[in-house]
Symmetry: C2
Subunit: 201 residues, 2 copies
């Protein structure tokens, strides 16, 4: 692609560095931006810059926060002894959006993945153990992806936490709400029979 | 969608103002940005800001340029008496990328579209006439979309230019390279027979 303007070329290259955005889409976004009023452009650029200058990692749970401790950890209405362990901030947000969990979180910062060279020491597992001891946690809910990496991490954390008096649970796995059994994969369907739940009258 | 961080919410809202990018995709882009090094973030924000601070419209042809006159208009190797009229900058870029045109351009800034309230007076048509006179143009090539709006604009400009001694042409319309006749629409196929081209030995 040839550009007659270097400014447009730079902006297109910058936007095409985003995942899933190619040169053509980036150029379309740039053409959109050119037509917008100045304050909107300044807002967008400012919001992007703030991601580096104003974001912190919560000292308690490694959640992304605007201050040194996140809103969830400072909220005294939330149960600090029930801790939901998640891979990253997006998983935390997904659970928060269900409005079903009133405990606190702990962000691991990844999953154990030997193929990608990620071992337990690169994750916040040591800090999780300290937090379990310090907060006298009653239950640790492991809300991790149901992948090989997720299962490996789950197994590792459960083993590490076994000496402490803390209940370790995982989120339930089974057939999605609204799904048809006919199209469910065998592993999921098999597991959902083995881990069947007693009907509540 | 609930956000635990206002900075992330702002950035997500800013990015989801782009066409074709929803809240979820915007959040994915924000999460990508958070993981990138600082200089990359600064680059992206800077490139976006420059779109407002450093871009000009070429005084000669209304192309988007880094200076007051664009590279194409200042290039003395290009034929300033053969002018290709396009709707906007992206169409100009598309033609430039074919490497088949060595004349100059003129950007209309839109097409006549009464339904959207765009009349000839909102486009750079007066300036086109001045340019035709000033540059003693020999040929005006109208490279417009083959839509109702494109055809209306084409007809209007051809009529406006009729008093001047200038050849007016349009880009050829017909079957795309690589297309199968079977799947071509009737209008295009019909036109391609009416406007058939003599075989060149």
């Amino acid at each position: 692609m040839q550009f007659s303007s270097q400014v447009i070329e730079e902006a297109t290259n910058a936007l095409s560095s985003f995942p899933g955005i190619g040169k053509r889409t980036a150029l379309r976004l740039v053409m959109h931006l050119i037509k917008r009023p100045e304050h909107e452009i300044v807002n967008i650029a400012g919001a992007i810059l703030k991601l580096k200058t104003e974001l912190h990692l919560c000292e308690e749970c490694f959640n992304i926060a605007d201050s040194e401790t996140c809103d969830i950890c400072t909220n005294t209405n939330r149960d600090s002894q029930t801790i939901c362990v998640v891979e990253d901030f997006t998983d935390l947000m997904a659970i928060e959006n269900t409005n079903q969990f009133l405990g606190t979180y702990f962000v691991l910062g990844g999953l154990i993945a030997p193929i990608d060279g990620i071992g337990p020491e690169q994750l916040n597992i040591e800090q999780l153990v300290s937090k379990v001891i310090k907060s006298e946690a009653k239950e640790i809910i492991l809300a991790l992806n149901t992948t090989v990496e997720g299962d490996t991490t789950l197994f590792y954390i459960a083993k590490i936490l076994s000496p402490y008096k803390v209940k370790v649970s995982t989120i339930s796995r089974g057939i999605s709400v609204g799904a048809e059994l006919e199209y469910a994969d065998e592993l999921t369907l098999g597991n959902s029979i083995l881990n069947r739940i007693e009907y509540q009258y």
